[in-house]
């Protein structure tokens, strides 16, 4: 999981990065399966590995450029990469030190018994309002995305040289 994510962020070829990120999402789903959250694992596979990966690949292919122009690395971007690496390494050190130093109460031995029926009941009864709001958000976001991506940029007649 971590290896493919790191490689995806390091590689220069955009298609390879996208495919490695799909591998990384799939291994996150495998982690969910290992932790006993089957429903979340299948949701992760459906949404990330199925849907978001397709959208990402479409965006990569639609915005593809000739590879030759991309070889030159500017010093500014190299400096930014160094800064980002420093920030990431510092944050990783701080977070892992904090995690290792903290003591948690004893964990439950068995996984919480969660069936699909229980999840459905919880979603519909206790979290019904949140479910409705999520539906509205998804609808609005998808309509907005379609509008953004589908409308041709109209050029003003006065702008033309």
């Amino acid at each position: 999981m971590l290896g493919s994510a790191a490689a995806a962020m390091l590689l220069r070829n955009l298609i390879h990065s996208a495919l490695l990120l799909i591998l990384s999402w799939a291994s996150v789903a495998a982690f969910y399966l290992w932790a006993g959250a089957e429903f979340a694992a299948f949701a992760q596979i459906l949404v990330y590995v199925g849907a978001i990966s397709m959208v990402v690949l479409f965006a990569v292919l639609l915005t593809r450029q000739n590879q030759v122009a991309d070889v030159v690395i500017e010093p500014a971007s190299r400096k930014r990469a160094t800064t980002a690496l420093t920030v990431g390494a510092c944050l990783a050190g701080i977070l892992s030190a904090a995690v290792v130093a903290s003591r948690f109460p004893a964990a439950a031995v068995t996984a919480p018994a969660t069936t699909v029926k229980l999840i459905g009941l919880e979603l519909m009864e206790r979290h019904g309002a949140a479910l409705l709001i999520i539906g509205v958000i998804l609808t609005v976001a998808l309509i907005g995305a379609t509008l953004l991506a589908a409308t041709e940029a109209k050029r003003n007649p006065e702008d033309a040289p």
Binding site: M9, V99, A107
Partner: protein
């Protein structure tokens, strides 16, 4: 080293990789994917505390993860649509080139 520690270490590693990618890369698609990686790390934490936490509730952590995945899907769709719209204007998706509005 309990399983909870292990899960938290894995998720903090994933978060830092995503953060580094989002800060370092100049390709807009990869920046968006770094943000997605950070969201995934947060979801991993939810599942870890739901499974190995001190007082497990039946389904709370998993439902939170479902909602977070839904919001992440909406965010990815809007973000990629924005990228395509910007590309159509500028014929470029590098972050440094999108400085038309700079003061």
């Amino acid at each position: 080293m309990t399983p909870l520690h292990l899960c938290l270490l894995i998720s903090s590693g994933l978060f830092c990789i995503g953060l580094t990618g989002a800060l370092a890369r100049s390709n807009t698609i990869l920046v968006l994917l770094g943000i997605e990686l950070m969201l995934n790390a947060a979801n991993l934490n939810f599942i870890a505390f739901w499974r190995f936490g001190p007082a497990p509730s039946p389904a709370n952590g998993m439902i939170f993860v479902l909602f977070a995945i839904a919001v992440a899907a909406a965010e990815a769709a809007v973000g990629l649509a924005l990228i395509i719209a910007v590309y159509r204007h500028q014929k470029n998706i590098r972050l440094q080139e999108a400085n038309t509005l700079r003061g």
